[in-house]
Amino acid sequence: MSEDIIRRDPRAEWIARNRLHPLHDSMQSAAAEVRGPSGLIRRNPHAVGFIGPNGIKRIDRMNGNGLASLGGRRSASGAKEVVLPLHKVDNPDYYIAVVPDMVGGRLSGHDRDVLGQAHKLIREIGGAGAVMAVVFGEYREEAFDKAGVDRLLHLDGDEYEGYSPERRVAALAQVEKEFAPRHWLLPDSVAAGFELGCRLGARIGERPATQAWQVDAQQSICRGAGGTLDITRETPRLVLLAEECAEPIDETRHEVLPVALEGAVEARVQIADCGQVAVDPNAIPLGEAEFILSAGNGVKDWDQFHQAAELLGATEGASRVAVDDGYMPRFRQVGATGTWVTARVYVAVGISGAIQHLQGIGQCDKVIAINTDVGCDMVKRAALSVIADSGDVLQELIRLAKAYRQGEIEHAA
């Protein structure tokens, strides 16, 4: 009978309750869960959690996952990047060659989709296949590994700079001879992929599947007849892929081992590139302009703004306020009610960034904000923000552009 009597020690309980007592720590039972005398699990709710920095008990209900966000700003700066697992192909049985567009020297979203499609094909075919990217000229891309490039064939040299389709196709034909890739995948894009793919198809005698949007190892579905027809056909060796054909790679890193061509590339070059022609930037439709200088409420000197746009060679845009106030025509308005722009570089002068405007520039790569207010939404969106009066900065930009043009003329002379 005597073991059934529960003996309590009121003093020990009192010490355990009193956090300020000097013996408190020794009286604390450490485990939150103990097996009681009858075999049941006893949970001690007071032992759960820990004492936070302010002396208040904190309970982590995210089991350690939310630690970074719990720490708030201090730990956010120390948040380390997740290292993705490395995908290795040591001795590839076969290659799948991808020729990305590399618009502006970087992989475009379309290029990443095509690389994702290449890995999808390798998964379906099986065996040790490697994705080889063939890149011409100089590039500025740093994340080939995260885009899914196992092997990188970089063809550098002056002869591949600019518009050089004949040399590029000759190089690709040499790749075909040396590596004999199982498939050739190119983006079916206006930028370069469509032209290069067609030239390659004509050169190596492969009939390409164009505008393919659903491709597996056996069958591919292509858009034909100007996008009104779906053609289901056997997947050929050469496939020109439409946008969003597959999911891009995002869970693995890849090796990006360099490979090189052994033989020399011989091309009969007949087309001479005389460079791009200066086009009136304001004649380009706003929706497809590459470089936009956009003005908002913060611009006071409009003559100066127009001068800056002309000297920088930028297409003019405007926020709704500038249009409503009559400083700019309606067709120059950028945003939800105006034009949705796709510019590569967008300079917002004195625009605070209403949500409608930010929607309109959603597809822009690099946004530069010139504004007096640090806290505005445009500064949060921008890659580079200048906190100053727009007039002063535009003045300096005009001076720099003039000096640059002057230097160019002297350089040419």
Binding site: C198, A289, V345, I387
Partner: protein
């Protein structure tokens, strides 16, 4: 600008195809092919021959003739025949200076391969996405190529060449019904009719709507998912310049513009 751009002794072939209206699906003149004909008419109205390989009874081809042509040359062959061998055979015998085509057909496979295959078969250079032929001197043509985003590139290419004409080229003139119905569809039989056997194995269906890409949130916990669904898109902290002289800050902006290559 217009009058001095005639080259009377230039021989141009413009290749035309049967177009398809994207809405109604009715046969029409194809947009880029019509631009090719327009370019040929502007350059050498006398030396232009408009060429089609296919059904000689096709009435929608008359829409091209309505642009002011007396005659259309048609290489008669069956519906399933490959156009490229017939065309290259014909062009080899004719030795034109310029062959103009559209970029992509509006019906059939519309792979856009015809100019490239012709160029490869004839051994001529292929110029793509022509916007304008600026000058032709000493057997060299100076042309403007249409680039995305409204840009133009200047190219020099020796005659003869094959060129595809972009939508950026001058819009085609209106087609008149009277001249169109009076024009002659002069058919010749194809010397080498090659049936497109590969195409027989394909199945065709009206275009399905493509599924929209979903935004997949790869979050481990409910709190992360909640944050992904509700959080405002905050840029990952761009560079902010402040309290510096305007000269330095403008220099930083200008350097970025130069680096991006938008200042030419």
């Amino acid at each position: 600008m217009q009058p001095d751009k005639k080259f009377p002794d230039l021989r141009i072939k413009a290749l035309i195809s049967v177009g398809k209206h994207p809405g109604s699906g009715r046969a029409r003149r194809a947009e880029t092919d019509a631009r090719a004909v327009e370019m040929g008419l502007k350059l050498a109205p006398k030396g232009l021959e408009v060429l089609h390989a296919g059904n000689p009874e096709e009435d929608s081809l008359r829409a091209y003739a309505g642009m002011g042509l007396q005659k259309l040359r048609i290489i008669a062959q069956g519906d399933n025949a490959d156009a490229v061998p017939a065309l290259s055979q014909y062009l080899r015998g004719e030795t034109p200076d310029i062959v103009l085509t559209g970029v992509r057909a509006e019906s059939g496979e519309s792979s856009g391969m015809v100019p490239y295959l012709l160029g490869e078969a004839l051994g001529w250079p292929v110029v793509t996405r022509l916007a304008e032929i600026v000058a032709i001197e000493n057997g060299q043509a100076e042309v403007l190529q249409a680039l995305p985003r409204g840009q133009r590139r200047s190219l020099k290419v020796p005659l003869p060449f094959v060129a595809s004409v972009d939508m950026a080229a001058e819009a085609p003139r209106q087609s008149a019904f009277g001249p169109a119905s009076r024009a002659e569809l002069a058919a010749v039989n194809a010397q080498a009719e090659v049936t497109d056997a590969v195409k027989a194995g394909w199945s065709e269906a009206p275009a399905r709507k493509r599924p929209k890409r979903l935004k997949v949130v790869k979050a481990k916990t409910a709190a992360d998912r909640f944050k992904a669904a509700t959080a405002k898109s905050s840029g990952d902290g761009g560079k902010v310049l402040r309290d510096q002289p305007a000269t330095e800050m403008a220099q930083a902006v200008f350097d970025l513009l130069l680096e991006e290559g938008v200042i030419r």
